[in-house]
Every structure is written in C-alpha cells, then in structure tokens.
Symmetry: C2
DNA sequence: AAGTGTGAATTGATTCACAGCC
DNA sequence: GGCTGTGAATCAATTCACACTT
C-alpha cells in the first residue's frame, strides 16, 4: 500500500469518524485484541468471518462496525491484519499513553494496581491514592500510596485525565467531585452508586454484584422452566 | 395491603415476567440497591422521579421498567418502598442463596474472594480453585484454595451453578469448558477473551481494559475538539 | 393535584441480502 | 468465486405525552 492510498483512506475515516455508534465503540477493543492475537500468530490477512469468530460476534456486525471507521478491507480478500490493528489503535487513542489515577486501594484497588492488562493497552497507573492513613506510604504494584489530600496536586502535575474510583460506596461521590474539580474528565466507577458529574465528564460503571444478579435472574428462569417441564 | 391483593398482583407479574427486556433486567439491580438505601433511610414511599434520580436514570425509563414487572405503584402517590424491594428481589432471585465458585486466585480472584458486596446480595463464595500448586491450600477470604482437579467434585457436591472465571486469557476457555461440563450454566468472565459455550449457558463478560479504552476513545474526541476550537 | 401506567412515536442497533469490486 | 461495504428491513430500547387513578 502506498502512502498516498493510506493518507486518503485516513482522511475519509476522519470524516466518518464523527458518528461511530456507541455500541460499535464498545466493541472496538474486542476487535483490537483479536487482531493482535492473530498478528502474533503470523496471520497477514483475515476475513470478516474469521475475525468475527475470534472476537465472538457475527460477521455482519463486524463488517458494519468496521465500515464506520473507513473502507479498510479488500473485496474478495479480507482485511490486512497489521493495517487494521493500526487503524483501530489510532481510533481508540491507543497510540498515546494515558496516565491513570486509582483512588481507593482496598481489595479491588490492589488488584487493579497489580493488573498487568492495562500497561499493554496504553494505560499507565500513574498514582495511587487512599483516604486511610494506615494505607498511605504502603507500596502497591511498585507505587507509593498517597494521601487523598494530595489528589489535586498529583492530577495537575501528572496531567491525568482518567480516574478510577475504587472506594466504598459512601466515599465515591466526594472522590469523584474532587477528581472532576482537579481536571479529570473520564471516570471508571467500581463503587455501586451512580455518580453525578457535569456534562463534559464521561463515567463508566463496573458493577460486580449487578453482573452476578443478572446471571442469577436468568439462572432462576432456567430452573423454573426445567421444573415446569418435569411437572407438565 | 391485603394478602389477596398481593397474590393477584404477583400472579399478573408472573404472566408479564416472561418478556422482561434485557436492558430492563440489567437495571433491576440498580433499582434494588437504591430502594434498599431509601428503606434504610426510613422512606416508606417514593415517586418514580425520586427513585430514578437515586438510581441514575430518567423517570420515564424507570416507570416503563417497573411496569414490566407488574403494577406495583399507586397513582398520585408513588411506590411503597419495602413492597417494591421485595418484588424486585423476588424477580432477581435474590431471595435464594446462590453458591459461586471462583476459578483463578490471582490478583483479581483474591479481590473478588475478599469483596464484601456479594454476600449481602445473596451470593456466597462457596469455593476457590486454582491451577497453581503453590496457591493451593492457601487460605483466602476464609476459604482454602483447592486444586483445579477437584473442580468437578466441588461443583457437583455444592450444587454450584454460577462460576467466575478469573484466570489468565490462555486458560479461560478450558476452565469454562470444565465448569460447563460439571453443570455450571452461568459464567462471569473476567478473562479478556470471548468464551464459547453451549446454547443453555449464559456468559457475562467484565473487561477492565476495554472499559478504559472506551473512556480513552471519548477522551481523545474531547481533546481533539478543544484543540480544534483553540485553532479555529 | 399528583404521579403511575402505557400506547404511540422516535431513536438506535442488528440483521438481511446483494450490488460492487478484487 | 469470494468477500467487503452498505442500503433496506427488522428488531429493541428509549422517550413522549397523556389518559387514568387515588
């Protein structure tokens, strides 16, 4: 592929890029991961069918999703693996390094601080913060835990714009407010409460107990049905 | 409210219950949690507006969601808090105790085993399992870690039907297959790979790195826009 | 007067199916 | 001949707006 071809394609992608549907965005990380795995296994091209299978979606959805980014495939052939990895990474902002602060170094915060999966995807745990004095100065995952009083200074100095709230429910809103006031505009919330934030701030929630409850709901349905069969 | 009223309402709910939309089911845990908090604060009734605010959704959505469960409110008044807690809990299967097995006791498995939020919502960590011999016999969150070889026996003896996969990506599919073969039909997957399961098995995925990537995508957009403003 | 419950309208996501290109 | 890209069709979720009940 020539530089001219690549450049014109990217220009088109930039135009379309405005309107990528939310559901598509949420699947881009899946595609990216599947493509990286394929790349490591030495694949050079992949069909929508294959990639869809690797990512756990159907091929129509995959093609439609990719078409929002641009025309990156070749009819009759498929997609160039390394080129598509590059395009999705660019779209996701994976080329840059995102410093992240984790607030709350309890069980979950600990696990997140030690989790290796972030670094490889462009995220760097830049700081750990906790309200409990006994946790301060502790070293977790190679980082010293700072007292919450230093939150504003740390965010400002490090240029952090993504914060992770891993505090108990009761502290989450206040922590979030301070993060936002300090300049954070993307929040990943593990506390089981909805966070109120200004317009320009994005929040995503990960709610472990809810996930289990949703499974339990379906499980209960299955069990009800099978007991009904046994009777009827 | 009389017993007769309650019984007829429940009968109706059972009829409607078949078709509760997936998006609604995913919000029931939110409503339940908000209601429990209101109950603890001594509220006896709540309007859709108030409850919606507490759960972080809009009131039209809340009313529509609740209407799928039945007609549990009173026009001009609102919803009876404790009655609605009871109904949602019943719908979610929260009245029964769900034993859960966690496979993989690394950082995340550790955190999950120690996480207090499960027990209070009807889930009981019944067993911990890990493949690494050096982790076996360790005690985490009051439970001994069992070798993976005992997985099938444990699931059968404890009547576990919900499994949590907290292993590295490479082990996840095999662990999942063994869980399913042993009789588990609901899986919560923390490994960053799609799990292939038979028709009757439900899988939910929690993908921490993806969540951050989705935030990064939007963050990048925000920064692009503000830099464009600065120029234009 | 207050506030639920719900048809109708709208918006968004998925799937179909095939024209167009390699 | 094989496979992408995409309009059109379908399905699902959200929002509107108001009739109806207390």
């Amino acid at each position: 592929m020539t530089r001219a071809e690549r450049t014109s394609r990217e220009a088109r992608a930039d135009v379309r890029g405005r309107g990528v549907p939310e559901a598509t965005i949420a699947r881009l990380p899946l595609y990216h991961r599947a493509l990286v795995a394929l790349d490591e296994r030495g694949a050079t091209t992949v069909s929508s069918e294959e990639l869809a299978a690797a990512a756990g979606v159907n091929s129509a959805k995959l093609r439609k999703d990719l078409s929002y980014l641009g025309s990156y495939g070749t009819r009759g052939v498929g997609y160039d693996v390394s080129y598509l990895v590059y395009q999705i990474a660019r779209e996701l902002g994976l080329s840059q390094d995102w410093p992240v602060v984790i607030v709350g170094v309890g069980n979950l915060g600990h696990a997140l601080a030690n989790y290796g999966g972030f670094a490889s995807r462009g995220f760097r745990i830049a700081a750990l913060v906790d309200a409990a004095p006994e946790r301060t100065r502790e070293v977790v995952g190679g980082l010293t835990v700072h007292p919450i009083a230093e939150l504003e200074r740390i965010v400002a100095e490090t240029g952090i714009c993504i914060g992770v709230v891993a505090t108990p429910a009761g502290a989450a809103q206040e922590v979030c407010d301070r993060l936002v006031a300090a300049g954070v505009s993307s929040v990943l919330n593990f506390a089981p409460v909805p966070l109120r934030v200004p317009e320009h701030v994005d929040v995503r929630r990960v709610d472990l107990a809810s996930e289990l409850q949703i499974l339990a709901f379906h499980q209960q349905r299955k069990q009800l049905e099978s007991s009904r069969e046994a009777v009827g």
